[in-house]
């Protein structure tokens, strides 16, 4: 059977993949004809092409599939069963599938064709938009831009525009943002979040027209209320229209407001022609989300294979879950089920608003308050995956519990039919079976095997819970034991040390462990002892517990030399101090590099050189930067309101204050922080363990962000805090984390694993639900009061200095194995020996 697919977007791609994966006998000969110059790519992730240069390409089809790109189909001859492309190519079909998607809708306003006006749909659109913005930002002091449309895509485009250094306005005709997903309360809360990101929102204001400037490109947008906004760039994101022009031209039935009419098997009025994805009108509705599009593709794949094999298929498209989540860094918005059901539909709603934290939640339940019908989450959507899984099902507790504890209930007891991953239509039962039958133990393997969580990723936490529940049930107990020497988790050991008042490793392992420890438990205990205020980390027995970096108060590099990082609080440094760093580096022949944390790293110091390097730095007023420790690294800052035209608070002063407060604080893992002086977020605070962004009224505190291997944006914990409130919350957050986290657990995964998540953390830190705050505050005060510079303390102690030699029997001999060669006017290490794996005798 000859199958021709018109359109190679996500839906067309999925259709072909589904056909190929189930068509072992090669019953279908497939030709795909696409209009875009490249094969299908992940349009859902389009924005990451701009912001992260992501490669969006889908895996290519196998060689059996004939691919045509950059040559749109121009006409269909249904009688002859052929399609003709713009370049004149003719291809015959037995079954034709239209997967032509949709096109952005640009309202017919004057000036819509001016240069500088864009849509946001394809990679080419984004390239053009980026080039235009680059040209503007290079030639102008500041560039303003407008996104027309305050829906899901509009907000995503607006944030991307902001990323291109454009002062961004969002114009929405409806009275509030995301009107298709949010009610008025949710829309109002979302507006605050969007404005906190530094965007301007004009809601309830239709646009009158676009006006050109002297260069002929768009310069201004006039609004219907008589006002105008300057704009060198305009992006239309005012909805999409199905691309049904081919179907129309060949006489297929189309809907009144567009869309190719199909039945539940996705067949058009011509039995040889099918339509799937955003171009299809099924059950009177056009779907603008990728999950239902994929379902349609699966249905048609099933039907076509049955036809080709002479069999039968009952696959039907049964409608879809329209739950959505806004993919906008730092703004949690989700709507699921039917958030607009009201008393007429026999529905009740439970609403919760926390204006301080910027949280709005609304659940819609049946009138007996038992069945979840839908809801809206703004400001904190952590319970979205669970709640969405419960749509139409009976809630495990009261709606209030579901509102707050959202995620706790889920996991093991979700009904098997519950769809966990709506992008790929994977049920809880499917995931459980895969785990059991394939013996899966890793999340990545579950994703790979079931596809759950592999598209938008929002259900990943839920997939993880299912996995954990299955593993526990199968008796694959995930041991909490730290190592062979302690049965305890780090948090348990912390409590043991705190409660018993034990002050040495020997006491601890004698009473609570076995053996003599290892490179896992020793540093953990060292860190716990340090967190509980037990003096210098190289004092007495503690010295033997430290990892080499802590032991030498510097960072070991690949050739066994160390790097030295003096603290430069907030990244602020005087010319005099810079000169001293330069002189030290020059005199010791060190390689120098500016770090990501706004300080300077000096590489290539031999052990015996360290004390002299520190002495000179300490004399110039520097102290240890703790780059070697599982402790606070830096508090990065932008230049703030003192110098910056846009700054609203003094971010440098706050960064210095915080860095000096938390310096030397030992934690389960390193801690990073940043303070931004305005919502432009130049300090990248949202990627930090604790990040602070200035507002007109004070500070917004973001917690548990992470760069590194698995980046995570920090969650907004509290808004508009005073200096004192800010410091108090950070104090408690850090101390609570230090007490309860696992070994090498960054704040991001700690928070993700914390039962009750961010809400629970707020209860602990703000409302003092555990009655722990006084203790946490006191612990931090002790830390602040007892801080002293580890470098200076070492220099002052001849006993500690003794260890800084390469050879005990030849203290003046430098290690002859250390060698360097020049590169770009600095040194680079050469390993004389090179890795040498000796084979032992059997």
């Amino acid at each position: 059977m000859r199958v021709v697919v018109v359109g190679h977007g996500p839906t067309g791609h999925r259709l072909v993949e589904a056909l190929r994966s189930r068509d072992g006998g090669g019953a279908c000969r497939i030709t795909v004809i696409g209009e875009e110059t490249r094969p299908a790519y992940d349009r859902v992730a389009l924005t990451s092409y701009l912001t992260e240069d992501a490669d969006l390409a889908y895996p290519p089809h196998d060689g059996e599939v004939e691919m045509v790109t950059g040559d749109p189909v121009a006409g269909i001859d249904r009688a002859a069963r052929t399609v003709r492309t713009a370049s004149g190519r003719e291809v015959g079909y037995d079954a034709l599938v239209l997967a032509t998607g949709s096109a952005p809708f640009v309202p017919p306003v004057p000036g819509r064709d001016l240069p500088g006006v864009f849509v946001y749909r394809t990679i080419e659109d984004l390239d053009a938009l980026r080039d235009h913005c680059r040209n503007l930002t290079m030639s102008r002091q500041s560039v303003e831009g407008i996104v027309v449309g305050g829906g899901l895509l509009g907000l995503e485009a607006a944030r991307a525009l902001q990323n291109l250094d454009v002062e961004t306005h969002v114009v929405e005709v409806a009275p509030w943002l995301m009107p298709r997903q949010l009610d008025e309360g949710g829309g109002a809360m979302l507006r605050r979040h969007i404005e906190a990101l530094g965007m301007n929102v004009h809601a309830g204001t239709p646009m009158a027209g676009l006006e050109p400037g002297a260069d002929g490109a768009v310069a201004r947008v006039a609004l219907a209320d008589g006002s105008a906004v300057e704009a060198g760039v305009v992006v239309f994101s005012a909805g999409v229209r199905p691309r049904d022009e081919l179907a129309r031209a060949c006489g297929l039935e189309v809907g009144e407001r567009g869309g190719i009419v199909v039945d539940a098997s996705c067949r058009t009025s011509d039995p040889a022609v099918w339509a799937v994805g955003e171009c299809a009108l099924v059950g009177g509705q056009v779907y603008g989300l990728v999950a239902p599009c994929f379902s349609m593709a699966e249905v048609v794949a099933d039907r076509l294979l049955a036809l080709a094999g002479g069999g039968d298929s009952a696959a039907r498209f049964e409608g879809a879950d329209l739950s959505t989540k806004l993919k906008l860094m730092g703004v949690d918005v989700a709507s699921f089920g039917d958030p607009f059901a009201g008393p007429e539909q026999g529905a009740l709603d439970v609403t919760y608003t926390d204006p301080v934290a910027g949280v709005y939640k609304r659940l819609v339940v049946s009138d007996d308050a038992r069945t979840l019908l839908g809801g809206v989450l703004v400001g904190d959507a952590s319970s979205y995956p669970t709640l969405r899984a419960f749509i139409g099902a009976e809630l495990p507790g009261s709606p209030e519990q579901a509102l707050f504890g959202g995620t706790e209930a889920a996991g093991g007891d979700l009904p098997g039919a519950t769809v966990i991953c709506s992008c790929n239509n994977v049920s809880a039962e499917h995931i459980r079976c895969a785990i059991r039958d394939e013996g899966l133990t890793e999340l990545a393997a579950v994703k790979g095997c079931t596809r759950a969580g592999s598209t938008c990723g929002s259900c990943t936490p839920l997939v993880k819970k299912l996995l954990d529940a299955e593993l526990t049930a199968a008796g694959v107990e995930v041991s909490k034991a730290l190592c062979e020497h302690f049965e305890h988790s780090r948090a348990e050991l912390f409590d043991v040390v705190r409660v018993t008042g034990i002050t040495t490793f020997t006491q601890l392992i004698d009473a609570h462990g076995r053996g003599r420890g290892c490179d896992i438990c020793k540093p953990v205990v060292a860190s716990i002892l340090a967190s509980l205020g037990n003096g210098h980390i190289l004092e007495g027995e503690q010295a033997a517990l430290q990892d080499t970096n802590d032991h030498f108060l510097a960072n070991m590099q690949k050739n066994g030399t160390y790097s030295v990082v003096p603290r430069i609080p907030g990244g602020e440094i005087t010319p005099e101090k810079l000169i001293v760093i330069g002189e030290v580096a020059r005199d010791h022949g060190l390689y120098t590099k500016i770090t990501g944390g706004q300080r300077i790293d000096l590489f290539g110091a031999r052990v015996e050189e360290l004390p002299e390097i520190w002495r000179r730095l300490v004399e110039a007023g520097f102290e240890s930067g703790h780059a070697y420790g599982k402790s606070l690294r830096t508090v990065k800052s932008c230049v703030g309101s003192t110098w910056c035209r846009y700054g609203v608070q003094d971010s440098v002063a706050m960064a210095i204050r915080l860095e000096l407060r938390y310096r030397g604080l030992r934690a389960p893992h390193k801690l990073k922080s940043a303070v931004s002086g305005c919502a432009r977020e130049c300090a990248e605070a949202q990627s930090k363990d604790f990040g602070i962004i200035a507002t007109e009224q004070g500070w917004n505190l973001y917690l548990a962000g992470n760069g590194g291997m698995r980046p995570r944006h920090a969650d907004l914990f509290a808004s508009d805090l005073s200096d004192a409130e800010l410091v108090r919350y950070i104090d408690r957050f850090l101390m609570f984390y230090i007490r309860t986290a696992d070994r090498l657990q960054r704040t991001a995964s700690w928070l993700e694993a914390l039962d009750g998540g961010l809400d629970y953390l707020r209860e602990v830190i703000v409302e003092d639900r555990l009655g722990l705050c006084a203790e946490l505050d006191a612990a931090m005060e002790r830390h602040v009061a007892s801080y002293s510079d580890e470098w200076r303390a070492t220099l002052d102690d001849p006993d500690k200095l003794r260890r800084f030699v390469s050879f005990v029997n030849a203290p003046d001999v430098p290690d002859p194995s250390i060698a360097f060669e020049p590169e770009r006017d600095q040194i680079k290490p050469v390993l004389v020996a090179g890795p040498r794996l000796e084979v032992a005798a059997r």
Binding site: E484, H485, T506, G515, R516, G517, C518, D519, C521, K522, P523, E541, A543, A544, L545, Q546, D547, T548, N549, H551, F552, M556, K558, N559, G560, R802, R803, S806, F807, V808, N809, A810, V813, D815, S817, I818, L831, A833, G834, P835, R836, L837, E838, V839, A840, A841, R842
Partner: protein
């Protein structure tokens, strides 16, 4: 090999091993005082050109192995954390955390790899002495 806590001078040991080769008899070298060694923390000595990592374990025993981490090629074994694994005294290289048995030099996770093991003893006057076989002099 296990530590020798004898104080009397004796003939150079036959037991110094490297990669299973019997060592050529050698000469004892005093490297430091026993009291200079921090329990469970290494030190490095340079003996006839060879870098030797020396450990004093919690129970007072002495061990000497090569300082070169075979996995990274850096001379760093003496700066690793010392502890036990299944009762055996071990050191974890500070570079990539590979664990070596101090008695045999063998890598606990990759038995095909081993550090050379040297003879070490606590001699008269609280001296710590090490012997390096001929093949290891540099």
């Amino acid at each position: 090999m296990t530590a020798e806590l004898t104080a009397e001078p004796s003939a150079p040991p036959e037991t110094a091993m490297t990669a299973g080769q019997p060592a050529t008899p050698s000469r004892w070298h005093a490297v430091c005082r026993y009291g200079d060694l921090t329990p469970e923390r290494g030190a490095c000595a340079i003996v006839e050109g060879a870098q030797v990592a020396i450990f004093r374990t919690f129970d007072g025993a002495l061990h000497a192995v090569g300082n070169l981490d075979p996995f990274s090629g850096a001379q760093v074994i003496s700066r690793g954390i010392q502890g036990t694994r299944g009762g055996a005294p071990v050191v974890a290289s500070p570079m990539y955390k590979d664990v070596f048995d101090l008695r045999t030099g063998r890598c606990a996770d990759d038995p095909a790899v081993a550090l050379p093991v040297y003879a070490i003893r606590r001699a008269a006057g609280d001296r710590v002495e090490v012997a390096v076989p001929d093949g290891h002099r540099q």
